[in-house]
Structures are given as C-alpha cells and as structure tokens.
C-alpha cells in the first residue's frame, strides 16, 4: 500500500493504507495540571467542568488550553461524589497558576455544590489555587490539613467551597495533531467525530481542547497582516486550491483537525494512532496528515507512520 508524500501530494512509500501522509506532528512542552471537579450531582460537576474549560482552545489567543479528560465515578474522587477530571496547559507555571486561579474562581467556585482538588501528586513543582482563592472568604475562610494536603473551606451562599491549596504540575506535551482530509463534508465530520470518540474513550492523560474535539479553522504561523500571530491554514483550505500552494490530495473538499494535548508524549502518540486508525475507517477520507513547522520549533516529532506501527490495533 502507498502513503501520500506530504511535499508532492502523490503516493510515495509503502504503508498502512495508502492514505496516511508520511509526515509528523510537531509538539511542544507545556506545563500542565489536572483539576478534579466534584459536585452533588453528575450534571453540576459537568457544568462546572465545561464552564471551566471554555474559551481554552489554543494559547494563540487564550490564557491556557484546557479540556475535560474524562468523567469520574464516586469511587475515584476525593469526596466520594461524581466528578470530572480536567487538564489545563500553559506555557509557564506562572501562566498556569493565573489561568487555574481565574478559571476555578470564576467557573467552579461559582457553580452550585462544587469542590475542586488537584489530580496530580504534589511534588516540588506546584501552583497555588485554593491558596489564592481563599481571600474570597473575607477572613472567614478556614484551612484544613487532611492526609498531608491542605484544603481551604471558603464560605459561599449554598454552604462552602472546598478547594485544595496547591495543585501539582508536570511538564506535558501540547500541539499533537492529526488532520483528516475527506471528499465529502458530512462523512468527513462524522468520521472525525468517531476519531474524537475513540481517543476520548481509549486514552487517558489527554485532552482535545477544541469544540467537540475538532478544529475546522486550522492555522498557520503568521499572516500578511502585521501583528497577527496566526492565520488560516491556506495549504489545507479547499476553497483556496489553485491560488495558493496546496498540501491536499486531489478530491479533498473538507478538512478537520484534531489537536491533542497530553500529560506525556506517549499518551499523545497513542491518541494520535487511535485517531488516525478511526479516521481511516471511512472511505470518504482521502488522506490523513499532521501539522508541523518544518521541525524547527517543537522538540517532539510525532511521526504518523511510527506511532501507527508502535500502537497497533490493540492500542
């Protein structure tokens, strides 16, 4: 079988399916934290998690990249209530602390019955969250040290908001991606949704920060307009075919991108493999590729063919 050469858009080397471009996603290290959000009901914990991860698709214009990692049942949360785990990524620990404090303060503390805990071990590298939010208690906040961890109890109108003082951080990997190129928009969207569902169902430690896990306005670095850091990815914009250099195989009329941020490189690689495999199940998908910057910016190069070989059907 053949794969598509990313430079020429023509079949190049023997590979899995003939539709996978022999290229790589270029990913970057980012500082990450995991927040565990619980509430009296599943619905309220979901509302808090969704609100907290809103407007957090890309650090191009957001303070952080964030998303829901997975739902947690009662046995998995510190207080025995239903919850969600959320991953948040930022370029520095200071930026992460600011984003977490703002988002937990405005989106979780405000949400009925919620509590918020760190989902990563408290090592040497931590950020203050409850320790910053406690001042909202106006002197009536109470700290409790339980099991070696400190929590703040902040009085609010439905009782008190319980929040862990510090959150552990880790060096994660952001910017993993795969690009699904299809001949028909409806089928391409459906199969990209399937790829998102497969990743979310099978891989832990990752988030897909864009709406529904899918980005339709993939970007390239820079613009003709001064000061604009990113602009539409013309090489993957079907309506511009013929007037700009294209990286799409013939027949492509619709392209979607899945961006993957993870706590480890391996988790991002595994998610990439699962996403590519799921996308290839749809005949309307003409090719699957990945976005990079020529390999000069990000230290992590996730080669599609390599991860497909390493993470087989059982991945």
């Amino acid at each position: 079988m053949n794969v598509i050469d990313s430079r020429g858009g023509r079949p190049a080397v023997e590979s899995l399916d003939g539709r996978v471009v022999d290229t790589f996603a270029e990913a970057f290290p980012m500082t990450a934290a995991r927040a565990i959000i619980t509430a009296d009901t599943r619905d309220w914990s979901r509302i808090a998690a969704q609100t907290m991860t809103g407007y957090a698709t890309s650090v191009i214009a957001c303070d952080a990249e964030a998303g829901i990692e997975r739902a947690l049942d009662e046995s998995e949360t510190p207080d025995g209530r239903p919850g969600f785990s959320v991953l948040v990524f930022a370029f520095s620990r200071d930026a992460l602390e600011q984003a977490l404090a703002n988002r937990v303060g405005q989106c979780v503390m405000t949400c009925p019955t919620t509590a918020c805990y760190s989902g990563l071990p408290a090592g040497e590298k931590i950020v203050s969250v409850g320790g910053r939010l406690r001042y909202f208690g106006d002197g009536w906040q109470v700290s409790k040290r339980i099991g070696g961890r400190r929590y703040w109890r902040i009085p609010v109108m439905d009782g008190e908001f319980l929040c862990e003082e510090t959150f552990g951080t880790t060096k994660g990997v952001a910017g993993g991606n795969l690009i699904v190129m299809g001949s028909e928009s409806g089928a391409t969207l459906r199969v990209t949704e399937s790829a998102v569902a497969a990743i979310r169902g099978e891989v832990r430690d990752v988030i897909l920060p864009f709406p529904g896990g899918i980005a339709r306005s993939g970007s390239k670095v820079g613009s003709k307009y001064r000061g604009l850091r990113a602009s539409t990815n013309t090489a993957f914009t079907p309506m511009l075919r013929g007037v700009v250099p294209s990286e799409m195989p013939r027949g492509v009329r619709c392209v979607y991108e899945i961006v993957i941020d993870g706590l480890t490189l391996e988790a991002v690689e595994k998610a990439t493999a699962i996403g590519v495999r799921a996308a290839l199940k749809e005949p309307a998908v003409i090719g699957v590729t990945a976005g990079n910057y020529g390999g000069n910016l990000g230290p992590h190069h996730i080669r599609l063919l390599d991860v497909l070989a390493r993470f087989g059907e059982t991945a």
Partner: protein, 276 residues
C-alpha cells in the same frame, strides 16, 4: 523482625522510658540496649533489668509486651519508625514526638501525645486526660500529627492544640478542645461539659446522639452537610480507624464560638437539643 521488649516481671515503682526510641536504638546491639539506663521511681536502672530484650531494631520497629500501665513516656520524642505496645501503656506516650507511628493494643494513660509535632498514635482501647493537650505552662498543645482512639478519653482532650487531628470512637469527658487554637477533634460518642470552651479557631465534631452541652457563648448557624468531613473520613479509613458513617455527608448542626474570644471555632453535632 522488630526489637522486642518483654516485661520481665511486674514493676513496682513507675518506669520512664523517655528517649528509648526507634531512631536511637536502630544501630545498637542487644547488649548495648540492655545496658541503657532508665528511671524507675527516682533510681536509674538498666533496661535489661526490666525487660527481656530480643530481636533486631535495625528496621526501626520496637514492640513492647506485657502490662505497661506503669511504664510511662513510651515513644516520647520519637522522630520516626514504629512502636507497637501489646497491652496497656502508661502516661505521656508519644509526648513531643515529631514522626513515626505508635500503635497501642490496649489503653493509654493521661497526657497521650501531648505537644506532639507529627506522626501517628493509634490506641485500640481508651486514653486518659489531657490527650493531645499542652503541658501546664505551655502555650500550645499538639501542633501536628494524628491521634486515633477507638475507645473513650478523659477530660481536656486537645486543650490548646494548634493543628492536627484527634478522633475518638467513644465518649469524651469535660472541656474537650479547651482554648483550642486550631485543628480538628472528632468524638463519635457523647461529650462532657463545655466542649470548645475558649476556643479561638478549629473544629470540634461530636457525633453521639445525646445533646452537646455547649456554653452559652456559642451561636447556632443552622444545619449543613460539611464536605470536608468526607475527606477526613477517607483519611481515617486509610489510617486504619474503623469506618464512620457519620462523616459521609449527613446533615449536621453548626455552632460558632467561643464568642468570649475570637469566635472562629466551630462545633458540629447531630442534634440541637440541649444547646443554648
């Protein structure tokens, strides 16, 4: 294999074992250990004259066997390791300890864990007065650590404690949390008079069904479901304390006090009968 101390015979005058700690004995031979001097009454005696010593303390574990109700200061000042007492222990167990664990499979006397600064004390039986409290003249009782008592305790529980957790499976007598500065005291049985008298901050939970005889300087806030108790419940279970359903989110009555002082302490109890 732990270092084992078997009481050779019934002791007459009280014995003080302060300084006989796992960290100190870790690198000593049995002969050296047997020669260590401790006070019995006002006389120095060799440890080997009181106990038959066997085993090896290299792993930081000590075991005491026999009726040690007249043996005081077990584990006083210990910094790490583990002490197991198979029987009852005397006064001042774990006083001022900063780390490690003491497990007593019997009762403990007065002043258990007084002014402790860290570590764990777990008593399967009951304990006496002044558990986790400050010594006379001191400003602060325990400042860190955990004391678990599956039975009952005497008076002045956690007096002037600054931080840490004390859980009592049975009853406690008068003035639990007297002049408490902060920390948590949970009593799952009945409580004597005036819990939290003079407390500044901190948490007292009394989960017995009988009314809690609070001072009139406490003010009721209403009934709530305190979430943080669920975290404490999980931590208690992790430490081996018998599971307590009282901490799983049931509605409790909250009182603030003691308003003769700072008034930022809280008392949680099941019923509001018998309160001011």
């Amino acid at each position: 294999m732990p270092l084992i101390f078997r009481l050779a015979s019934a002791i007459g005058s009280p014995v003080r074992l302060g300084g006989i700690t796992p960290d100190r004995l870790r690198d000593m031979s049995l002969v050296e250990i047997a020669r260590l001097e401790v006070l019995q009454g006002n006389v120095s005696v060799a440890l080997g004259d009181l106990f038959r010593v066997s085993g090896d303390g290299a792993d930081g574990r000590l075991t005491f066997e026999g009726d040690l109700a007249g043996v005081h200061e077990i584990g006083r000042g210990m910094t790490g390791g583990e002490i197991v007492v198979r029987g009852s222990a005397g006064r001042h167990v774990g006083g001022g300890m900063t780390g490690g664990a003491i497990h007593i499979h019997g009762d403990a006397g007065d002043w258990l864990g007084c002014e402790m600064k860290g570590g764990l004390i777990h008593v399967r039986g009951s304990a006496g007065d002044h558990t986790g409290a400050a010594y006379a003249g001191s400003r602060r009782g325990m400042t860190e650590g955990t004391i678990l008592i599956e039975g009952s305790v005497g008076s002045h529980l956690g007096a002037s404690m600054r931080r840490g957790l004390v859980a009592v499976g049975g009853d406690c007598r008068d003035v639990a949390g007297l002049e408490m500065i902060a920390g948590s005291i949970l009593v799952f049985g009945a409580c004597g008079r005036a819990p939290g008298a003079g407390m500044r901050r901190g948490t007292i939970g009394v989960f017995g069904m009988s009314p809690v005889p609070l001072l009139p300087t406490f003010r009721a806030a209403g009934r709530f479901r305190p979430l943080f108790l669920r975290l404490i419940r999980r931590d208690l279970e992790r430490l081996g304390f018998p599971p307590r359903d009282e901490l799983s989110g049931e509605e409790l009555v909250l009182y603030h006090g003691d308003l003769v002082g700072l008034g930022k302490g809280e008392v949680w109890c099941r019923e509001d009968g018998g309160t001011p």
